[in-house]
């Protein structure tokens, strides 16, 4: 199967064609933004120099190394996206970003943000930080360094960054929420089945 590659700036048409479970790759500019960065952008309305319109955002706090006056990417993998749930909808609205990449699912507010702003959420395999770093061609800029290494706004040039699994699409489908219902039902069944083997209490 041919690799599906998104290139920044990403068009609405490209985003609309994606559905949950699709596997895609990203080429172009990718920026990191996580807890404090989202708060800074949404609550303090501080705007980074790098324009995010049509852009891609990575929930990630990397390990970087300074070599001469250039930053070098050492290791970068996704962080838990759910931590950004509170601000992602507003973030999408004010930045015009088209794809948010992270780990694990996001909630109903982000789903609404994706539908209204024609955007998607995708996951990169968590912990696969060297694979991700090897797909980063260079760090082009670093903003908000006052927040420290994990929280700074790193601007990267990436090539065929992925695999990215679409977890929220523009139709409002949510891969993780759908699965969660199945998991919960299975869990109840499984726990009931083992209960008799765990009746160690004496009375």
């Amino acid at each position: 199967m041919e690799k599906k590659i998104l290139t920044t700036p990403i068009s609405d048409e490209d985003i609309k064609s994606l559905k949950i479970g699709d596997i895609v790759y990203l080429t172009g500019t990718l920026v990191t933004c996580r807890d404090t960065g989202h708060k800074r952008r949404v609550l303090s309305n501080i705007v980074p120099k790098t324009d995010l319109k049509g852009g891609a955002v990575f929930h990630a706090g990397p390990i970087v190394k300074k070599v001469g006056d250039k930053w070098e990417m050492v290791s970068i993998g996704p962080t838990t996206s759910m931590r950004m749930e509170k601000f992602e909808k507003e973030f999408l609205e004010i930045t015009g970003a088209k794809i948010v990449i992270g780990k694990g699912g996001m909630g109903s507010k982000t789903v609404q943000g994706c539908v209204e702003n024609t955007a998607v959420h995708a996951i990169f395999p968590g912990g696969c930080a060297v694979v991700a770093a090897s797909q980063v061609e260079e760090i082009m800029d670093a903003e908000w360094l006052d927040l420290g290494m994990p929280e700074a706004f790193w601007v990267m040039k990436v090539k065929e960054f992925g695999p990215l699994i679409i977890s929220i699409d523009t139709k409002g489908n949510n891969l993780f929420e759908n699965n969660k219902e199945v998991y919960k039902t299975n869990k109840e069944k499984q726990v009931a089945q083992i209960a008799k083997d765990l009746s160690f209490m004496k009375y």
Binding site: P163, N186, V191
Partner: protein, 297 residues
């Protein structure tokens, strides 16, 4: 070189190893799960994981960018020659390793809310001491866990009427609601004690026990097996997406006697990139690495 310098030097190298190479038992279980998995999305994730482990070695980089807050669990003999200097030496090793590995800056001073940039801060690195009388050896576990698998840890005190079934439900519930984001397949450490603190401490100890080892109480071991079966039956796969092979690397239970009216239960998770290293030193600092065979520092 003084004995202290030698200890710091070896520890820095050991931290480097733990950040870049997973222990043998963890790699073993991951291989089994990868071979058993049939779901295409889940298989793609296992492929990335194994590519990542190879690249971490060939490119000499930490497996995961989140190298955690460094934790050291010590069983130190009262006659180990460097016993009084351990805290200072581990602080130094952490500072050095932060630059040489390199490690991510992960110590944020609370209330000041500022990243120290050194991986050191108040009570960080975290050091837990166990004292072994009449021994001149030191057994040290180095552990680094990312925020992702630290986040879902829970400890609570139940009424004994909840029973062991209640604890199983608590663990499974935590797995489904929060463990899903913690980078499964997970190491699940369960602690059963009296208060939140004792249960949590045992859960952590359980999560650091080698995979494939048993609780020596027969009933506690039944609980380990049954919980593993139940959790693997949820349908959860790697990274929280559906999988057929299972979502746990292992379930370990650690327990203690409890107060008649209280039953503390806790669960502590380790992500698939379970970066645990165990090293044993003798009084001359000859050492043996227990969970990374065929490695030279």
């Amino acid at each position: 070189m003084t004995l202290e310098q030698k200890f710091v030097d070896i520890t820095v190298k050991f931290i480097d190893l733990v950040a870049k190479v997973l222990p043998d038992d963890v790699v073993g279980v991951l291989s089994t799960l990868r071979d058993k998995e049939t779901e295409p999305m889940a298989k793609a994730i296992y492929e990335s994981m194994f590519e990542n482990m190879e690249k971490a070695v060939s490119m000499n980089r930490p497996i995961c960018q989140d190298t955690g807050v460094l934790q050291f669990f010590l069983k130190v003999g009262t006659k180990f020659p460097l016993i009084d200097k351990l805290s200072d030496m581990l602080l130094e090793a952490t500072t050095v390793a932060t630059n040489t590995v390199p490690l991510r800056h992960n110590a944020v001073e609370t209330f000041i809310e500022k990243n120290t940039g050194t991986n050191t801060g108040k009570n960080v690195p975290y050091i837990e001491y166990g004292i072994v009388p009449n021994s001149d050896k030191l057994e040290m576990i180095v552990y680094m866990a990312g925020g992702g698998c630290v986040l879902p840890g829970r400890s609570m005190v139940m009424m004994p009427s909840a029973g062991y079934e209640g604890i199983a439900d608590f663990v499974a519930d935590t797995m489904v609601n929060w463990g899903i984001n913690a980078c499964p397949p997970l190491v699940v450490g369960v602690g059963i004690g009296t208060c939140v603190a004792s249960a949590a401490k045992l859960a952590k100890k359980a999560s650091l026990r080698p995979l494939g080892t048993k609780n020596d109480n027969a009933q506690a071991h039944i609980m380990e097996q049954q919980l593993e079966k139940a959790l693997n039956g949820i349908g959860l796969g790697p990274q929280g997406i559906p999988g057929k092979a299972g979502c746990v690397l292992g379930v370990n239970v650690e327990n203690m006697a409890r107060h008649p009216s209280a039953m503390g239960a806790a669960v502590s998770f380790g992500c698939w990139a379970h970066r645990r290293g165990t090293i044993v030193f003798d009084a001359k600092l000859n050492y043996e690495i227990l969970d990374h065979k065929n490695t030279v520092l």
